[in-house]
Amino acid sequence: MIQLLRIELYKIFRRPRTYISFGIITAIVLVIQLAMLSDGKSFLSFIMSGVNEQFDIQGNVLNGYLVTYIILQSLLIHIPLLVALVAGDALAGEANAGTLRLLLTKPISRAKLVLVKFTSSVIYTVLLIVWLAVVGLFGSLALFGQGDMINLKSDAFVMLLQHDVMWRYMAAFLFATLAMTTIASLSLLLSAFADNSIGPIISTMGIVVVITILSNLELPLFDKIKPYLFTTHMIGWKGFFDDPIPYGAIGFSALVMFLYTVGFLATTIFYFNKKDIKS
């Protein structure tokens, strides 16, 4: 299994397109950071206009922590897409390239192959999130400096002290990794059904977009199913920037996503074990 995983990672990281995702994240983060450098103060005064009437806020408000928060919110759809690019390609890409049949004529079990594809997708996801932390959080801190963090919500205003923020980001990145692992497992499942990677990648995004819309629709019809949609819980990382932190809700969100991940993975193994390889 370890040997198979090493081979899989070697294949992923020797493929030039793997690095496109890291390039895209860097580009998006840089664009937001440059925009904030240029127009951040006017943007901040606009979104804080209501708050400034009631509070006298002093210090470096436009700091690296706030900019990172803005970046993370902007990347809500992009990161799942980048994860789907690799996970959706994991099985379907091999089928499309014709290498799947060669792989499966070797003495390796199909279940192990799926587990290795999943694990390598998770490792890729972790690296993507780590890269986001490096360029997003540490890059923003370098550019904008540190300070207390303001979290403006629709119904509240949370002020977090500077020394209390970094660990929250680490927890948020950890939570985001779990959320993206759920996306990776969904993509891998769709990849098992397909013989080319475009289908699973587009389908993953289609599902994420549709369910996200359902999660956000304020209609009583969907109220009962919303707690069970994984997209409802993908934004659970924001809970780490509340005060007090809603640990119960975050834990429930993590549990729902974990169960979805296990369910997607088990379905993938079950289906792939029975699949006729005709590609």
């Binding site: 020797r14 493929r15 390239a97 060669l102 499966l104 004529t105 003495p107 079990s109 390889i277």
Partner: protein, 307 residues
């Protein structure tokens, strides 16, 4: 000695299409076994079932007497295969591809063995090139190297000459013969090129619409007297009369005004030609079909054959 491959009543359907129907055959150790059939006859499906890529609806596959499903991993370590095209990771070098698939073979394969198989298939010196820069022939050779690297007893080669030029086909033929004769491999090979199969196979099976038509040793199946000789003629009114009264009448396999096909030993072609000329018939061309080709057509293509 038990056969290296034995299938019993294999069946496989895709929807309403019956791809393979009650297919049973055996392959002995050391055989070069030709697997023949028209496009869509079920050759690739059967080969995939032998490798566990496609699951049969019913029936069994035994490798060295062990049922495939009971010992899939162990049995696959004894088989090397190319199914259809030898597709590999184009962005990696030939060496990397070989190393990856060698590492998946459950055996501890070191660099000297990789060099050895590259030597066997004639890719030495090109192993560091990216596979996407390889010609089709080089890819086929690398595919064979991958199939060979773990020293399997059995090679399953599905259309290994696909996409090769005449020189590549001849080289592939020599390679397969040397793998059989010098390395003692049992080889199951399918190809559209019947002439190639005729030159290398010791046994063969012909399947048609998923069913076995015939199976046996090539020497006993291919009778030179069953070859087809096609004669292209300038059409005349009295050709049927002349043929009906000739000694060759019983040899006619198919008749068209401008072409007559005789079922006969090609060694008798000069005599046939002399008779045609003596009868005043204008012969434009005479061609004899290879005995396997004729035999294959007689079993699988009803439209060509008179009876």
């Amino acid at each position: 000695m038990e056969p290296i491959i034995e299938t019993r009543d294999l069946n496989k359907s895709f929807g309403s299409f019956r791809a393979v129907s009650n297919l049973s055959f055996t392959i002995g150790h050391g055989d070069v076994y030709g697997f023949l059939g028209q496009n869509g006859a079920g050759k690739s499906t059967t080969m995939r079932m032998l490798l566990g890529l496609i699951y049969p609806d019913s029936g069994s596959v035994f490798i060295n007497g062990t049922e495939f499903n009971n010992s899939r991993r162990h049995l696959l370590s004894q088989i090397g295969a190319i199914i259809e095209r030898p597709d590999m990771y184009g962005y990696l070098s030939g060496w990397d591809n070989l190393k990856i698939f060698a590492a998946l073979s459950d055996k501890n394969i070191k660099a000297p063995r990789l060099h050895e198989v590259l030597e066997i298939v004639g890719l030495k010196g090109r192993e560091k090139d990216k596979v996407k820069a390889y010609s089709q022939g080089m890819k086929q050779r690398l595919g064979i190297a991958i199939a060979l690297v773990h020293k399997p007893q059995l090679l399953i080669l599905d259309e290994p000459t696909n996409g090769l030029d005449p020189q590549g086909i001849a080289e592939m033929r020599e390679l397969i013969l040397s793998l059989s004769r010098e390395h003692g491999k049992t080889i199951l090979i399918s190809s559209h090129l019947l002439h190639e199969i005729e030159q290398i196979a010791t046994s063969m099976i012909i399947i048609h619409k998923g069913k076995k038509v015939v199976e046996g040793k090539v020497n006993s199946l291919l009778n030179p007297d069953d070859s087809l000789v096609e004669v292209v003629l300038k059409p005349t009114d009295d050709i049927t009369t002349k043929l009906a009264s000739s000694a060759y009448y019983d040899n006619i396999a198919a008749f068209q005004p401008d072409m007559v096909t005789f079922k006969m030993n090609p060694a008798h072609t000069p005599a046939l030609n002399r008779w045609l000329v003596a009868e005043g018939l204008d012969v434009i061309e005479i061609r004899s079909k290879h005995s396997l080709e004729a035999y294959f057509l007689s079993l699988t293509n009803d439209s060509v054959i008179k009876n």
